[in-house]
């Protein structure tokens, strides 16, 4: 999955679960090197 074009707050699916992107970490060259995310609870 390419997280480069995703913004914080965007939703994505991984391993069959839905998550919200909460942080992106870049190196000194501006290259994405890490992300953090939290699960999204879908209420029915």
């Amino acid at each position: 999955m390419d997280f480069n074009n995703m913004q914080i707050g965007d939703h994505f699916e991984q391993d069959g679960k839905l998550y919200i992107l909460t942080d992106k970490s870049l190196d000194n060259d501006g290259q994405l090197v890490g992300i953090s995310f939290q699960p999204v609870t879908v209420s029915e």
């Binding site: 390419d2 997280f3 391993d15 970490s25 190196d27 890490g34 992300i35 953090s36 939290q38």
Partner: protein, 196 residues
């Protein structure tokens, strides 16, 4: 004179310098250009040491909030871990914070995940930290550390190879009675190479 690889072969008819080849039998003349320089062909891949810092500061709510911190190795690159440091502070200083917070570590890839370790801190919640090659177990409240042997912990991350399809992931679970508002930090020293 020795016939070892890299020496001038003996008993051969030569014109100028001859180098014995890898076959140990035939010798070859190096190519020398008009300026007297020897042409050399080098093969290999560029390897660059790189320091990675991944931080997260979004609040993780009390009583079950979770968060994942994951590497994002770029497509076409490969990282080999040389050193790693993970720091997750306690959820609050002082006060009547109870419960447990814990972290689980995985390698993720397209076919699933593989757990490689975990740690928990119970009542009077303490920080969870991996540094210097092992989990900081000076806190008597840190429990459930797998592996619990320092030698095994030291080997846990060193040499792990990551790429765009195989990332390192830490799942953090805040089952304490306080929100987790301290930043979580993952630092890596890696060798970055082009993936084949």
């Amino acid at each position: 004179m020795s016939d070892a690889i890299g020496t001038i072969a003996s008993g051969k008819k030569t014109t100028g310098l001859q180098i014995l080849g890898n076959d140990g039998t035939n010798s070859y003349a190096p190519k020398i250009d008009s300026t007297g320089n020897v042409s050399v062909q080098v093969s290999g891949r560029k390897a660059t040491p790189k320091a990675i810092t991944i931080t997260s500061s979004t609040t993780i709510v009390a009583n079950g909030g979770t968060e994942s911190i994951q590497t994002a190795v770029p497509s076409g690159k490969k990282w080999t871990i040389q050193a790693l440091q993970l720091q997750i502070l306690n959820t609050a200083d002082g006060g009547e914070v109870t419960g447990t917070h814990s972290v689980l570590c995985y390698i993720t890839n397209t076919s699933g995940t593989v757990s490689i370790g975990n740690a928990s801190s119970i009542n009077f919640v303490k920080r969870i930290e991996y540094r210097g090659g092992f989990v900081d177990q000076t806190s008597a409240y840190l429990t459930g550390v797998i592996p619990d042997d320092h030698a095994a912990q030291t080997k846990l991350f060193n040499g792990i190879m990551l790429d765009a399809n195989s990332q390192l992931r830490f799942d953090y679970i805040n089952n304490t009675t306080a929100n987790q508002t301290n930043a979580r930090t993952l630092k890596l020293n890696v060798i970055e190479e082009d993936a084949i």
